[in-house]
């Protein structure tokens, strides 16, 4: 088990910078998810932590000790790859024992450890099979087993579930969470699936274009996104966005006016706000209510699931369609016009110059 | 049996663990990625010793004279080796040259190359086209035609020497048909014919295979379209197959030229060292004899001849690379 600190981590391939001044603190035993769009550098970050890739500058600390120059084995990490990377020419048993044999461990201890891991992961019936003869889920378990047997300080997962079908993915998600509870080892988990991140992780790191956008608890990221990128990235369907200008600044918040949706008074810390600044307003689909009067919306598409409804429609003066999520059944027809109400205390305001959010005044 | 192999494997594994130790040390010193240097090193050492160094030495020796083997004991004589080799009254007439054997070899090689390359190309092309028509038995005949390629030059030389011998099967057949018994390999023109014939026999299968691969790369639907138009098979060959195959054939032709220029092994065995007289003495044999089997070992002269041949081959290789690039479009 180990606490991990990344200090001013920088990575450059030839002439391209792929990680910029990354700083993250991971506590001992924490389950951390790295999320971000494809190509943002999640895998690179994981490989830097693992030691498979050398860092260009900065420091990586495990339990306060700099490990920059240590090999993956010396860092005592274990890794589960997206492709599983099982050794195709070895049986399941050999796959599990290979890492331990490399450490010149005693045969008896090796045997004991792989038996334990195999039992934990239900792999006993397959020990003499080659990976070719296993299903996707079984291969996945072998890959996890290979990580477990080495009693690593840190588990690293690179999108381990993306090759499984939807049902198995949900199931394995639960198993990995259970495993974490049981082993209580630090785990770093890369995914592009935010549901995975939100449900499994204790802490989420949002990465974008080689920079850390925000680090926080799952709900924090949802409720208090630090900037426009996080706000739009976390949450599904995506947050609705409107252009507006600041018309009034006071200690209780700011007032904004938008051509298409009108005026709102929003309770945010207003220190950096100036009248006349242009801002972006964000409203989550689930924070939109239907009302008798308000902002008119012409419905272009309806998705009724029975217990919930997604409404897509256009507001005059807005190029992009709006999405609203209602937690109940709603009767309407495409082409109907309905009226919406936004609750201003759930609205997010982002400064257009910096893309940073104005912090909410907490009550 | 299984136990035995497991036992052998465990011994091998133990041994490899020993070999591993120093590499682990090196890995610690230089880092993971630079271990690549360690892995190419043995190969590079051998390439350096037996290819790169010799290339340098060949050029160096070509400019030195004398009979000493060590380069520092050899006097520098500039272009003298080359000028002696090229000193001719007329290049058309070997007898007018200072080294008439060299020019005889050049003439012989030139004619051999021309005939062998043409012959092999035509034969291989016909065979490949015929094989490509087969729907069944293609693999069998491909193997039959390829088989001689795998034989050694000594074996090929001896098999044919026996076949063409005074008491050989061919003479028996000739006699049976009312012909005259001939010692084929002792008559200048017959021996030249048979050297080319045996070379074609020996190497044709290799080129057949390459041309066949080219033929199989031609999309089937082109032929189907032609068949719908009612084009005869003969016309198909001239109008479709040959044009589409031409880039391939050009590459093969140059490869053939390159190989032919280096003729030595089987001809040397077949003709007892280039006979009768010098009728089948080729350039490589000249180099070999000059450097290794004459009383006075003229390494400088042999190297100069090697360099000249190397330059000719280089030119052909460059043409081949250029053609191969063009064939890929």
């Amino acid at each position: 088990m180990a606490a991990i600190q990344l200090k001013n981590l920088h990575k450059r391939y030839e002439s391209i910078d792929v990680m910029h001044q990354v700083n993250i603190d991971i506590e001992d035993g924490e389950f951390v998810a790295l999320v971000g769009p494809s190509g943002c550098g999640k895998s690179t970050l994981l490989r830097l932590i693992s030691g498979l890739e050398d860092i260009t500058s900065g420091e990586i600390l495990f339990d306060g000790k700099v490990v920059n120059r240590l090999s993956p084995a010396e860092r005592e990490i274990a890794m589960v790859f997206q492709s599983y990377a099982l050794y195709p020419h070895m049986t399941v048993k050999k796959n599990l024992s290979f890492g331990l044999e490399n450490l010149n461990m005693d045969r008896a201890i090796i045997e004991e450890r792989i038996q334990k891991a195999a039992k934990l992961l239900d792999l006993l019936p397959y020990m003499d099979r080659k990976p070719r003869a296993l299903s996707g889920g079984q291969r996945q378990r072998v890959a996890i087993g290979r990580a477990i047997v080495r009693n690593p300080k840190v588990f690293l997962f690179d999108e381990p579930l993306s090759n499984l079908d939807a049902k198995l993915r949900v199931q394995t998600r639960g198993e990995i969470t259970k495993l974490h509870k049981k082993l209580n080892t630090t785990m770093i988990y890369v995914t592009h699936d935010q549901v995975e991140a939100m449900t499994m992780a204790e802490k989420i790191v949002v990465v974008n274009a080689g920079r850390i956008e925000q680090v926080g608890k799952p709900l924090d990221l949802f409720e208090r996104p630090a900037n426009r990128f996080v706000a739009e990235f976390i949450g599904s369907p995506k947050m609705n966005i409107f252009q507006a200008g600041i018309t009034k600044v006071s200690d209780n918040g700011i007032e904004v006016t938008s051509k298409s949706i009108g005026e709102f008074s929003i309770p945010v810390i207003s220190k950096t706000a100036k009248i006349g600044d242009s801002v972006t307003l964000g409203v989550r689909p689930s924070h939109i209510e239907i009302a008798e009067s308000g902002i008119p919306l012409e419905i272009t598409q309806l998705e009724c699931m029975g217990h919930e409804t997604f409404i897509y429609g256009s507001i005059q003066g807005e190029k992009e369609d709006l999405v609203a999520h209602l937690p109940h059944h709603f009767d309407a027809e495409i082409g109907d016009t309905i009226f919406l109400r936004f609750t201003s205390q759930f609205m997010h305001v982002f400064c257009d110059k910096t893309d940073q959010a104005f912090k909410r005044i907490e009550v | 049996m299984k136990n035995l192999s497991a036992f052998l494997f465990s011994i091998l594994d133990k041994f490899m663990r020993l070999v591993e130790l120093p590499t682990v040390y090196v890995q610690k010193k230089i880092g993971v990625q630079r271990m690549g240097y360690l892995f190419v090193a043995p190969n590079m050492v051998l390439f350096s010793l037996f290819v790169f160094l010799p290339v340098g030495l060949a050029i160096a020796y070509a400019f030195t004279g004398g009979t000493n083997m060590l380069i520092w004991d050899r006097p520098f004589i500039g272009l003298e080796n080359f000028s002696r080799l090229l000193n001719c009254g007329s290049y058309m007439d070997p007898a007018s040259c200072e080294f008439d054997l060299f020019w005889t070899a050049v003439h012989n090689t030139w004619w051999y190359t021309l005939l062998n390359a043409t012959g092999t190309l035509v034969m291989a092309l016909i065979t490949a086209v015929v094989l490509n028509r087969l729907s069944k038995g293609k693999a069998l005949f491909r193997s039959i035609f390829f088989y001689p390629v795998l034989l050694s030059p000594v074996v090929v030389g001896l098999i044919w020497k026996w076949f063409l011998a005074r008491d050989g099967l061919l003479n028996a057949l000739v006699l049976d048909l009312g012909g005259e018994r001939t010692i084929f390999l002792l008559e200048v023109w017959w021996s030249r014919f048979w050297v080319v014939y045996v070379s074609i026999w020996f190497h044709m299968g290799f080129f057949t295979l390459i041309i066949l691969a080219g033929l199989q790369a031609i999309p089937r639907d082109i032929y189907e379209a032609a068949k719908v138009d009612g084009t005869s098979e003969w016309r198909q060959f001239w109008r479709i197959t040959l044009p589409l195959l031409t880039p391939n054939l050009l590459v093969v032709a140059v490869l053939l030229l390159i190989r032919s220029v280096q003729v030595f092994d089987e001809a040397w065995v077949l003709t007892d060292g280039g006979g009768p007289g010098t009728a089948n003495t080729f350039i490589v044999q000249f180099i070999y004899q000059t450097a290794f089997s004459s009383e006075i070992r003229l390494y400088g002269l042999a190297s100069a001849a090697s360099v000249l041949m190397g330059l000719a081959l280089l030119a052909l290789t460059l043409i081949q690379v250029w053609l191969a690039k063009k064939a890929e479009y």
Binding site: S50, L52, A73, A78, M79, Q82, S83, A85, Y87, H89, F98, G99, N102, R150 | V32, R34, G36, Y37, L38, F39, V40, P42, N43, L46, F47, L49, F50, V51, P54, V55, A58, V130, L134, G137, A139, F141, I144, F146, L150, L151, S152, P153, V155, L158, I159, W162, F163, L169, A172, W201, F206, I210, Q262, D265, A291, A302, S303, S306, M309, L313
Partner: protein, 347 residues
């Protein structure tokens, strides 16, 4: 067989092109097979028969028999009498055009017949001693031993060294990697015949002249092998190697335990080629080796045929020995070989 041969794309109908193709294939097969078959048949004949002309097709030997009262075996002949009747007789002696023979049923009495009336009886006989004599009386056993040694050692080294280089060139990032790869590929274009003189001088410098190791070392680094194995290794996912690194395997161990086993199919193809190349090598061993106890089979055979050019029965038997291993390898593995050649354009 005929039906099988004539089956072409349009079953049922034979036109002129089909007939011509068929003719070409049969003729080609005959041209290839006859000289080889002839050498094989002749290799089993007695010396006397090898040297007789016109030659007989099947290896035969004369029939002889023991007759009481005669120290030596007598040869058996068939006597065609004037009446057309034939009778088996044993030849006692020959004087001019008369032969003294005895009737085998009544061996006590000899009589004379004209030579033109008797023909010698022969039966099929394989002279296996053609194969065993050279091994015992000449150095062929040594030659074979040397060739096997060179072939085995060179093939093992070829597999090891070339796969190591291929591993470096396919799975590592280091400065000069591409330059090294190009350099290795460029040697593909450089034939031995151009550099044989200085290469031999290098061998002399290394004190490996007239030494089997001199033959081996110069041949084990092959650009073809490196190229072939590198192409194959590029298909092995990098993840596997990184997984092994995480699993605390050293780079050498990754090579030995992960990469090498996974390359088995490509290694097998290279091994087949290497065995054939080394078994057949001629020019290079001819240059390096000078004393008969170091000759390989090809060199020894060539030297023998130069020295004992009348002993065709031995020469041919040893020729067959020299082509046998390659033939067997080809019969068993022809698919891999022809596909390997067609795929990579090497031989």
């Amino acid at each position: 067989m005929l039906k099988f041969l004539t089956r072409t794309r349009r079953p049922g109908k034979m036109d002129i092109t089909d007939i011509l193709s068929w003719l070409w294939l049969t003729l080609g097969t005959a041209v290839i097979a006859i000289p080889i078959a002839w050498a094989m048949l002749s290799s089993l004949k007695t010396q006397a028969e090898v040297n007789s002309f016109p030659p007989s097709l099947i290896p035969q030997s004369t029939v002889s028999t023991q007759v009481e009262g005669y120290d030596k075996d007598l040869s058996v002949w068939e006597w065609t009498q004037a009446s057309g009747e034939t009778k088996k007789v044993a030849l006692v002696r020959r004087i001019g055009i008369k032969a003294t023979v005895l009737d085998m049923e009544k061996p006590e009495k000899t009589f004379q017949v004209p030579i033109s009336e008797i023909t010698q009886l022969k039966d099929v006989h394989f002279q296996w001693s053609n194969y065993t004599d050279p091994l015992e009386r000449f150095d062929f056993f040594t030659y074979i031993k040397n060739t096997v040694f060179v072939t085995v050692v060179a093939t093992i080294l070829t597999l090891l060294l070339n796969s190591m280089a291929a591993f470096a060139l396919s799975k590592y990032k280091f400065r000069g990697k591409n330059a090294i790869f190009m350099l290795i590929l460029s040697t593909l274009m450089l034939p031995l015949s151009v550099i044989m003189v200085p290469a031999f001088i290098v061998i002399v410098g290394l004190n490996l002249a007239d030494n089997l190791w001199g033959v081996i070392f110069a041949t084990v680094a092959t650009p073809t092998g490196v190229f072939m194995l590198r192409q194959y290794m590029l298909t092995i996912p990098d993840d596997l190697i990184e997984a092994a690194r995480v699993d605390a395997a050293s780079e050498f161990r990754i090579y030995w335990r992960i990469v090498l086993p996974l390359c088995a199919p490509a290694l097998a193809v290279l091994a087949i080629f290497s065995v054939i190349w080394r078994w057949n090598d001629f020019l290079w061993p001819l240059i390096v080796l000078s004393s008969p106890e170091n000759y390989t089979l090809q060199i020894g055979l060539n030297a023998f045929q130069g020295q004992f050019s009348v002993e065709w029965h031995y020469i041919l038997a040893m020729t067959v020995i020299a082509l046998l291993p390659v033939t067997i390898v080809f019969l068993v593995l022809q698919k891999y070989i022809t596909e390997g050649v067609a795929g990579s354009g090497v031989k």
